[in-house]
């Protein structure tokens, strides 16, 4: 009964080789988020989708892009991964953007290694 599913759980890529991470949800939530979490650090929000509306955080590098083809799926594309992009990438969802009532549910994450 997994609610937020991320694939793959582990991804190895080469420096500069594009990579795509996948997230799907069974909660039918309107909002999907992508976070980057480096070792021993807090998650850092990269961007989110509210339905089809894309919202980028000001400090998210252009190297990171996202697609949401439908309610259930969201993808994170890293166009030219650098060594500094090695991290855990977390997908999260929430029903809406009203924080007083809407919890963010996180997936298990994808651990990205850049060689």
């Amino acid at each position: 009964d997994a609610m937020v599913i991320q694939n793959p759980r582990y991804q190895v890529t080469q420096f500069g080789k594009p990579v795509t991470l996948s997230c799907s949800q069974t909660l039918n939530h309107n909002v999907m988020y992508w976070y980057q979490q480096k070792s021993s650090q807090a998650p850092k929000l990269l961007f989110h989708y509210y339905d089809k509306d894309f919202n980028n955080e000001a400090d998210t590098p252009d190297n990171f892009q996202s697609r949401r083809p439908n309610t259930s799926f969201c993808f994170l594309d890293i166009r030219s991964p650098g060594l500094g992009d090695a991290a855990m990438y977390l997908c999260a969802t929430s029903r809406d953007l009203q924080t007083s009532t809407d919890t963010q549910y996180f997936g298990p994450g994808t651990r990205l290694t850049v060689l």
């Binding site: 650090q41 998650p43 989110h48 996180f106 298990p108 994450g109």
Partner: protein, 111 residues
């Protein structure tokens, strides 16, 4: 800069003891304060949350204490168990979706 300051960075407690994690914030516009628990290799999971109109919230062995005037809130884990060993993040948000996370506290419960 970090909007939510969390301490300690790590703590070790004996089984059955009390774990206490503290967080402080500056932005008085924050109106939602969740705690997340994260096990190694897993995503964070919501543990318990509080609104500023309440001074304490308890769910099982986990209690949030909230001091609005001091702009501080804390998580108490009573009767700590080895299964509670994890990293705990406090967070805060305003009338929007953005969670400002603390730096995290790694809790180790010794049997």
């Amino acid at each position: 800069q970090q909007q939510v300051k969390q301490s300690p960075q790590s703590l070790i407690v004996q089984k059955g003891g009390i774990s206490i994690i503290n967080c402080a914030y500056e932005n008085t516009a924050f109106d939602y304060f969740p705690w997340y628990q994260q096990f190694p290799g897993k995503g964070p999971a919501l543990l318990i949350a509080i609104r500023p109109d309440v001074s304490e919230k308890k769910e099982g062995r986990f209690t949030i204490s909230f001091n609005k005037s001091a702009k501080q809130f804390s998580l108490h884990i009573m009767d700590s168990q080895p299964g509670d060993s994890a990293t705990y993040f406090c967070a805060a948000s305003k009338h929007d979706y953005k969670l400002s996370f603390g730096a995290g506290t790694t809790v180790t419960v010794r049997a």
